[in-house]
Structure formats: C-alpha cells, structure tokens
Symmetry: C2
DNA sequence: GTCCGCATGTAACTTGTTACATGATTTA
DNA sequence: TAAATCATGTAACAAGTTACATGCGGAC
C-alpha cells in the first residue's frame, strides 16, 4: 500500500495530504488510511504515541520505525507495474453508437471543463511554488517532476477531448 | 461494470476482445467476465444459449436482451466520474529521496521503453486500420478516437519520462 | 442551533487479482 | 511430449468505497 509516513503525523494529517498535493496522483479515504496504519503497526513498520487532548479523543502520532524506513527504501527501489490506463470515458465513447451523440458531446464537454480547471490549478502550483526549476534538487525536485507529470497528462487529455468533440460535432446532421 | 456484450459472443470471446483492442483502456480477467455475465443474467440483461460441442464443455453464447439494450443506452448516456490518475510510479518518484537515484533512473528508463513500445503499437494500428480518418463515422470513428486517446496519453507519459530522466541524471554526482 | 473542522473507528459491500481445477484438440 | 488454444468455473484474498457512529470546540 502506501508509505507517506515519511514525516511523523496523525492519520488525519495524512488524509489532508491526500486531498492536497499527492492526492492528484493517488487518493485514499480516511478509512483506508487508518486500516493501513493499523496493519503497518502490527508489522512493526510504524510506531505511535498517543497524545491525549482536551475533550477530543486521543491523537495517534505515527512515526516510521527503523524497519519501516528500510521497507520504504526497498519499496522505492523495487520495480512498479507500468502504468495502465483505465478510463471509463473511453469505454463509453467506444460504445457511443448506442446513445444520443449530442448527449455524448455534452458529456465530453463536461470532462473538458474539469480537465481544464485541473490543468490551470497545476499550472498555478508550478508558477507559484517552482518559479525556477533549474535550481531544484532532492525532495523539491521530485515534487516538481510529479507535478510536471500531472500537467502533461491533463494537457494530453484536454487536447484529446477537443479532438473528440470536433470530430463528433462535424458528424452531427443539421449543423 | 462492463457492457461489451454489444455483439453476441461467449465469455471467452469477450476476454479476447479485452486482451486486444479495448484492453488497452479497460482490462478484465476471465473470472471477472464470467462473474459479471452471471450477474447480468440474473438481472435479465443478457440471455444465453448453450451450444454443445464435441469433447469440449458447452459454449454459452450470450446475447443482449431488450432490457439489456435499454440499460446499455442509459449507461452510455449517463455521466462518468472524471478520469482520475492513479500512478504508482509518480508516488515512488515523490518518495525517491529515500532510495538510490541511479536505481530510480533505471526504473524510469524501463518505463520509458514500455511506453515507447506501446506508442509504436498504437501508431501502427492507426496507420493500418484508419488510413483516412476524415471519412470515418459511427462505430469505426469512435474506435479511432479511443485509439487517438491512447496515443495522446502514451506520448505524454513518454515525454514526461524523458523530462524526469534528464532532470535526475543532471543531478548525479560524478557525471 | 446548525454546520464545519478535528480525530478516530466498525461493518458491509463492491471490485479486482491470484491460484487452482478440468479437459479435449491442435501445433511445435 | 510439452505447449498453446478453446472454454468454463470455484475459492480465497486484497484493495477500495460507502454508510454509520462518536464527540468536542468554534464560527455563523
């Protein structure tokens, strides 16, 4: 599963991270996080300290153990399954002959808008957080490169939406 | 789930389709297919005829029922969750500081090669099967557009791999 | 007085993967 | 004689989603 107990934190804080930056490339619900943390704990890869709080239930501040750090390094250096696209929109497009073309075009437009918004967001991150990429090293460089990947994919998707909309539109009868 | 019982066929034949064309955008194992077919059957969306064969077990030739065709049209016209990237390689890159940079670069190169090969394959499909896209309509057009999406994403991924390899390489010490 | 943020969890369900099992025919 | 192709399935597991549950403090 996941391993962003790189810096100590609570399950909730990890969830925050997912909804922010890294969540654009890998998401998880809080239930998944808590389950995973529990599992990692039984495997001895993380330790935690219960921090009592006024009123609220205890916080569990998790931290990587030595064996956890070792496991993380091994995971990072191990090969990954090459990325495999799994896009429902493509499947629908393929089956589009069974539906109203105008509805499909409308749906493609909707996706186009969503990907445009995401792309804009990523480009703002890029401009604000990494004004000069040539000086980046280490963690910051890696974060930047991941963001660049997001920009590349969103751009490709957006261009594809345009191509599809144009092609379908051109085949509409009265127009 | 899936709905490519568009034309009648056996579970096995559907599996073949997945390993060929559409499998590049949505894959399923044969177990999943059989389970789904069984479910669709209990829901009355498909019917089948058992065709006895010499030696081999019976073939089950599935076909969409009227309500299945209706459900398919509804599915095609219903909105989809916008595509969400889920790429483990990006997560690893983000955590790359915990591993040997040369191992990471090697892994990126491996992915680069895989995506290059896929892109070449798709481009061959494009050249051989759709020499003149401007005349396409209906099902063939949709198939072509899906293929174009695959090309777009593979190209983007490939370019990203190059960018990452270059950036990481430039930061290696002795070199 | 109701919603939002912090903080954690259980339970049930759906989806997807892996392993195992059968058994004939054709190809190398 | 070993493998690949055709053709179907059961069982167990892993991963991911959705619903439900608790409970305080602060903002509106």
């Amino acid at each position: 599963m996941v391993s962003l107990a790189e810096r100590p934190g609570t399950g909730y804080e990890i969830g925050q991270q997912f909804t922010r930056s890294i969540g654009h490339f890998w998401s998880a619900t809080h239930q998944q996080i808590y389950r995973t943390l529990k599992k990692l704990h039984t495997e001895g890869l993380v330790t935690f300290e219960s921090v009592p709080q006024d009123g609220r239930p205890d916080k569990k501040v998790y931290q990587l153990s030595d064996s956890g750090r070792k496991a993380l390094r091994e995971w990072v250096e191990s090969p990954v399954e090459p990325y495999h696209l799994r896009d429902e929109l493509s499947v629908k497009l393929r089956a589009a002959e069974h539906g109203d073309p105008r509805v499909i075009i409308e749906e493609m437009r909707r996706h186009r808008e969503i990907h445009t918004a995401r792309l804009r967001l990523y480009q703002e991150f890029e401009k604000d957080d990494y004004p000069d990429p040539s000086v980046l090293t280490g963690r910051r460089l890696n974060q930047y490169l991941v963001l660049r990947g997001g920009i590349a994919v969103q751009t490709a998707f957006l261009d594809w939406c345009d191509e599809v909309i144009d092609a379908l539109q051109a085949r509409l009868p009265h127009n």
